[in-house]
């Protein structure tokens, strides 16, 4: 079977990533599998050290931008670039979210300054910037009339928060710039009581409070604990999102991660959890798509896929993204979030291709 059209055989890809990360490895493997030459690679560390390192990409016909995550030096450097130099985060520490985001925006700006055509970027840097801001993404989708849980931008202090939220209810409070369930809190209020459930470990040391991303989801019932957590997260910006009951397969709630490539919903993963957070790596499970269809029907699945496609369509000329779709107990799909680097779904094939291969092939088919 021909791996690619002969006339495009020498298409030169570029890659900006953390080279040690498995995402880079998947992409390299996909290029090789497609009979393409290796990408010109620039690491995020190099971009941070000196933006002119990006000039090596000037001759590339397609450039993939990949995640900066899972590299402590890069993360600390982003925070420094974002206005807090000298910070050295502990493993899993949840802090300096706004500074990291500002640093990230600065890096994306460096990419744009390379001056290559829009079509060269598989993901437009400006779109990536928007996808990393939950409120901006929400506004974009609301303007396009796409169904979303109701959402508001929260004030930046705990005192203001308690006056903005009603006395009774349940909500998700999500950091504007977090990912992978980092800092996502489920908050409940009733009769003057509050309870926060989150994948967070709260550590008090020498009068200081530190938060860590934790695979163990905990409930916090004491006001001083809740105040410590939200007091640390609110200043970096959070949104409140209505808590909608998710559909269930068996006992577990679910949502869908849909990888949309070139306008088409491709790889789909059912994420199941007994907790309000269905993020895959929190020890939650992948469900079977066939079970989803058996329980809710093909039309239900299609409605989710259509919505995911519409979500990416709001970012024209960005080739792919991982879209999270909530399928409610009312059987209606709603958009949750879009992940610029949400295409890492190891072991999931669609039409015989993994996500990286699907992206490479789609990139080859684009007009140059």
């Amino acid at each position: 079977m021909a791996l690619c059209r002969r006339r495009r055989v020498a298409l030169q890809f570029g890659l900006v990533a953390n080279p040690e990360n498995r995402r880079a490895a998947f992409f390299r493997a996909a290029l090789e599998r497609s009979g393409l030459p290796p990408a010109v690679e620039v690491s995020w560390e190099q971009v941070l050290a000196d933006a002119s390192n990006l000039e090596r990409l000037a001759s590339c016909e397609r450039i993939r931008v990949d995640s900066f995550g899972e590299n402590p030096r890069v993360h600390d450097a982003l925070i420094a670039l974002g206005g807090a130099p000298g910070v050295c985060l502990e493993h899993g520490e949840l802090a300096y979210l706004e500074e990291a985001h500002i640093g990230w925006l600065a890096l994306l700006a460096r990419l744009q300054q390379l001056g290559v055509d829009d079509q060269v970027w598989l993901s437009q840097p400006s779109h990536v910037a928007t996808m990393f801001d939950k409120w901006q993404t929400h506004v974009l989708w609301a303007a396009a009339g796409l169904p979303r849980p109701a959402c508001q931008l929260l004030p930046r202090t705990f005192e203001e928060l308690t006056s903005v939220l009603p006395a009774t209810g349940r909500w998700f409070l999500k950091p504007l710039h977090g990912s992978s369930a980092s800092g996502v809190c489920a908050l409940r209020k009733a009769n003057g009581r509050m309870q926060l459930t989150a994948p967070i470990e709260l550590v008090r040391e020498d009068g200081q409070v530190k938060l860590f991303n934790s695979l163990r989801i905990r409930s916090f019932g004491r006001e001083d604990d809740i105040q410590a957590i939200l007091g640390a997260l609110l200043p970096s910006g959070m949104i409140e999102e209505d808590w909608l009951p998710k559909a269930r397969l068996g006992d577990l709630e679910l949502d869908l991660r849909v990888v949309v490539v070139a306008g088409e919903a491709r790889h789909v993963v059912v994420r199941q959890s007994r907790h309000p957070m269905t993020n895959l790596h929190l020890g939650n499970q992948r469900g079977e798509l066939s079970d989803f269809v058996a329980a809710f029907g093909e039309a239900a699945l299609q409605s989710c896929l259509d919505l995911a496609e519409a979500a990416l369509a709001c970012f024209p000329s960005t080739l792919y993204a991982g879209v999270d779709v909530l399928f409610g107990r009312d059987r209606q799909p709603r958009l949750l979030e879009i992940n610029a680097f949400g295409d890492l779904l190891p072991g999931v094939l669609h039409r015989g291709e993994d996500t990286a291969t699907a992206i490479v092939r789609a990139a080859l088919r684009e007009p140059s």
Binding site: F68, E70, L94, S179, R329, L344
Partner: protein, 402 residues
């Protein structure tokens, strides 16, 4: 031919497993209690090989918590499924898996839990425990319960499970539901088991469930054998007495000491099974090991076989004291699971008296070291040290930046 019949019951299943050894082959039959089940026969090269396989399969099942069926042949429908009045002892626990209160019970008192909806044909009262619950889509708890009380099956019903009694449970207690049952007790002459508060984490957190004084149920239902309730807020048992109650299980995130004191100064002469989730002061628990001393003195509940002091953040203290209690000379199972048991409590348990009557020690979901787990497994009784919790910092993750 040798035959061994085992049974297993919890909040998810009610199963039997039978093995018959005949010369060089054995036949395994398994399935839901009350059904014929599925049979598989396996032949071996010799009787010795068949016996080896037989013994191995048996010990696997016993390690999983299966027990010998009462009377050796009760699997064919005797277990609570209408075959006799007495609820089998193994039908009292109601664990629904290691996720705590994450799932509704699909099995209660050995019966399959079946939702009762007004206007729909109900399940067979000989096989079903009827479930009532409001949810996001249908706030029909009261309507369903009232319809049930007027229906034909009420007179035959053996067990009821009360789920969410309102769509939003924040400030609605179980009081109205309890009043309704008490007022209509004459319509439920066969009621042997009741679960008040099968409410899962997502519907309402355990420490947010509003209970009430449940003791009117004792006065109204003299034939009650099993009462399970979830939720500690406003929970009370002001008149703690019942001549025939054999099992009492109260699940809370923090139990009020007054409830424990009521039980221990109360009158439950027939009690065989006592399960208390004592919780933590963070969720309203005011109980300490001192409040349990009347129990540890050993004279209460002469028929007690199972004692569970679960979900407790002072379980180390309990372990230290209980090893010296005369209770351990007569009960079969001590359950200290779901709590914060550490090496302190574990080491105390190593001092279990050699003449203790205990057959099973459940310490699942604990914080003990591998070394201590190994030593406890060396004790001459069945010890469950599964679900060892690892230290918090092993659970930290780095955001992947998607």
């Amino acid at each position: 031919m040798e035959k061994r019949e085992l049974q297993f019951m919890d909040g998810k299943s009610s199963k039997f497993w039978r093995i018959e050894l005949d010369g060089a082959c054995h036949t395994v039959t398994y399935g839901r209690i009350g059904t014929e089940g599925t049979s598989q026969t396996k032949e071996f090269g010799s009787p010795a090989e068949a016996r080896k396989s037989h013994d191995k399969l048996l010990s696997q099942k016993l390690a999983k918590g299966y027990v010998d069926a009462a009377g050796g042949g009760a699997a064919g429908g005797g277990a609570a499924a209408g075959g006799g009045d007495e609820v089998p002892f193994i039908a009292f626990p109601c664990t629904t898996g290691s996720n705590g209160t994450g799932s509704h019970a699909s099995n209660f008192m050995g019966l399959r839990v079946s939702r009762f909806s007004a206007g729909k044909k109900p399940g067979d009262p000989k096989k079903a425990a009827y479930f009532f619950g409001s949810d996001y889509e249908n706030d029909t708890f009261t309507e369903d319960l009232e319809a049930f009380l007027e229906s034909d099956v009420a007179a035959e019903a053996r067990a009821l499970v009360l789920g969410p009694w309102a769509e939003e449970l924040y400030d609605v207690s179980s009081a109205e539901a309890v009043k309704l049952l008490v007022a209509n007790a004459k319509k439920l002459p066969k009621l042997a088991g009741l679960f008040v508060g099968d409410i899962v984490q997502e519907e309402n957190e355990i420490s947010w469930i509003h209970q009430c004084d449940l003791s009117p149920l004792f006065a109204a239902f003299p034939k009650l054998q099993l009462l399970r309730a979830r939720g500690g807020q406003d929970l009370a048992l002001s008149k703690a007495k019942h001549a025939g109650l054999r099992a009492l299980a109260l699940e809370t995130g923090g139990m009020n000491a007054s409830v424990v004191r009521s039980i221990l100064s109360g009158d439950f002469p027939a009690l065989e099974y006592l399960e208390l989730w004592l919780g933590t002061d963070q969720y309203g628990g005011t109980c300490t090991v001192e409040d349990l001393q009347p129990l540890f003195k050993g004279k209460k509940f002469p028929k007690l076989r199972y004692l569970g002091l679960r979900n407790c953040d002072f379980v180390d203290d309990i372990a230290t004291v209980v090893v010296n209690s005369p209770l351990l000379q007569r009960i079969e199972t001590l359950d200290l699971s779901l709590g914060t048991l550490s090496d302190v409590g574990g080491r105390a348990l190593l001092q279990l008296p050699k003449d203790s009557s205990l057959k099973k020690l459940d310490l699942s979901h604990h914080f003990m070291s591998k070394q201590l787990m190994k030593e406890l497994k060396g004790l001459k009784l069945a010890v469950d040290v599964s679900e060892a919790e690892s230290p918090d910092d092993e659970w930290r993750f780095v955001a992947v930046g998607e």
